[in-house]
């Protein structure tokens, strides 16, 4: 039985196509994926991403603990900084990819994938021995919105009244006492909520390749914020369908497709988020070995000559017809009008411009290896 987010009733009322994802029943699209995709690229869209999981790590050893389970390096980070990275198994396989928010000197907020919440929390708890920390699993306390697109900054400031323009890319702040400025009641555009007992967290992050913000708050706050955004008409409700096409186009990985227990960050081309100069973290030796000796398979981009669409799991073949890999995600790329995919292929076939074929149903279609970024990101840094 799938869980519902705090916005479930609103999605149904908007007529969204609902489908299971990561243990939740989530909106896939409200109108259609193409329109929602373009709204985020050109204006602004809002996503319910309340299915994401949250874990708070506090205590004297919080930083040392995060350093132990996380591949990126948070040592000496300023409060408000956010890091992307992975948790790894000792063999280098990926437990999950996640964001780590530094909230205070002894306070970290970890955001994990919905489908992995139970597994991740169990994994974290297994590795607390020897650390003086408190691990608080808070997924049920938070709803989350992602407001994404070139107009996101104005929308978040003007519709939600959250001052966010000073946030740089991958910075966050926690807001505990936003004053209720109801004096300006004539302006329905600007409503600022009071939530003295229920802080919100705002970060300049996202999963679309556009500028944007992610907002974490109580269910009540997230419901009010969603209503305000939709009523404003300045922000299109967007489903997980276009979240996937948007993240795919800019080459962002999805756990389960481009990362898994069998796909290490080195294979996925994400070594830059794994700091091998750190004293230690789980999986470090395995990654160092992979970096030194190479990996059997690598994640690549493939561009097809034809419009046929490569989908997850379709076989990738050499020009001689020998199986050399599998598609991880593929689409007819909406922003560049080409059929493209990411695929995990034998390393010998991973060089740029290597000709390859993808089997799509009964036919094979020729293509070539390209960079696994099909559209340029437009972050505001």
């Amino acid at each position: 039985m799938e869980k519902k987010t705090c916005l479930y009733d609103r999605h149904v009322a908007l007529g969204a196509l609902m489908s299971p994802f990561g243990g939740f029943i989530m909106p896939i699209q409200y109108t259609n994926i193409t329109d929602e995709h373009n709204a985020v690229r050109q204006h602004c869209g809002v996503f319910d991403v309340s299915h994401m999981g949250e874990v708070r790590i506090t205590g004297p050893d919080a930083e040392r603990y995060v350093q132990h389970i996380f591949t990126n390096d948070v040592s000496g980070a300023p409060v408000g900084q956010i890091y992307y990275g992975m948790m790894l198994y000792p063999d280098g396989g990926t437990v999950d990819d996640l964001l780590v928010y530094k909230m205070g000197e002894q306070d970290f907020f970890l955001v994990i994938n919905a489908a992995n919440i139970d597994k991740d929390v169990a994994w974290m708890k297994e590795h607390t021995a020897g650390f003086d920390i408190n691990l608080d699993h808070q997924s049920d306390q938070y709803g989350q919105l992602a407001v994404q697109g070139p107009e996101a900054e104005q929308v978040v400031e003007e519709v939600l009244g959250i001052p966010c323009r000073e946030l740089k890319f991958y910075e966050n702040k926690e807001i505990r006492n936003l004053e209720n400025k109801k004096g300006d009641s004539a302006s329905s555009k600007s409503l600022i909520f009071t939530f003295s007992d229920s802080p919100i967290i705002v970060s300049r992050t996202g999963y679309t390749g556009e500028d944007g913000f992610e907002i974490y708050g109580s269910h009540e706050y997230i419901q009010q914020a969603w209503d305000k955004l939709i009523e404003s008409g300045r922000c299109k409700p967007c489903g997980l369908g276009c979240r996937d096409t948007l993240r795919f186009e800019v080459g962002l990985p999805l756990y389960g497709d481009e990362l898994s227990a069998d796909i290490s960050p080195v294979m996925a081309g994400l070594s830059m988020f794994c700091k091998l100069d750190k004293p230690e973290f789980i999986g470090k030796e395995a990654l160092a070995e992979q970096k030194a000796n190479g990996v059997p398979q690598k994640l690549v981009g493939i561009e097809l000559a034809d419009k046929a669409i490569p989908r997850h799991g379709y076989p990738v073949l050499s020009m001689e017809g020998e199986p050399v890999g599998e598609v991880t995600t593929g689409y007819h790329c909406l922003s560049v009008d080409k059929s493209v995919c990411m695929a995990l292929v034998k390393t010998d076939f991973a060089k740029l411009d290597t000709p390859l074929q993808v089997q799509i149903r009964k036919k094979t279609f020729p293509g070539k290896v390209v960079k696994k970024k099909f559209y340029d990101k437009h972050y505001k840094k």
Partner: protein, 126 residues
């Protein structure tokens, strides 16, 4: 919301066939194109390929997923709708005007197993 056209035969998997003499024009129903959403690619067989009633002969792809096309009849492909190669969205604009393949029927009695428009409406309402 979906439109239905009289005089066609329909399959449970939402293909229609418009019969003209020994030939049939096969496409997807308006109900099917609604359910699929934006069609971005149509995978069609080649002329002279054989199709078999109840078996896959191609696919219609939306952004999110590929849906197999199931032939309502057996026969030989004599023409494919090449306009769909460049403009697959024609299926969304008018599914009944934009057939996908033209087939020479090998066993017209197969048509009796398909639904008329009233039966198909009831099928869609289930």
């Amino acid at each position: 919301m979906a439109k239905f056209e009289e005089g066609l035969r329909y399959s449970e998997s939402h293909e229609y066939i418009r019969v003209e003499g020994e030939y049939g024009y096969i496409g997807i129903s308006d109900y099917a194109q609604h359910a699929l959403g934006n069609v971005v690619y149509v995978d069609m067989p080649d002329v002279d390929d054989e199709v078999t009633a109840g078996e896959e002969f191609g696919a219609v792809e939306s952004v999110k997923a590929a849906s197999d096309l199931i032939s309502p009849v057996s026969g030989t492909v004599v023409e494919v709708n090449e306009a769909l190669e460049d403009k697959p969205e024609l299926l969304n604009e008018d599914a009944f005007a934009n057939w996908i393949i033209k087939v020479q029927l090998s066993d017209p009695s197969e048509l009796d197993k398909l639904m008329d428009v009233e039966a198909y409406k009831a099928h869609c309402a289930e």
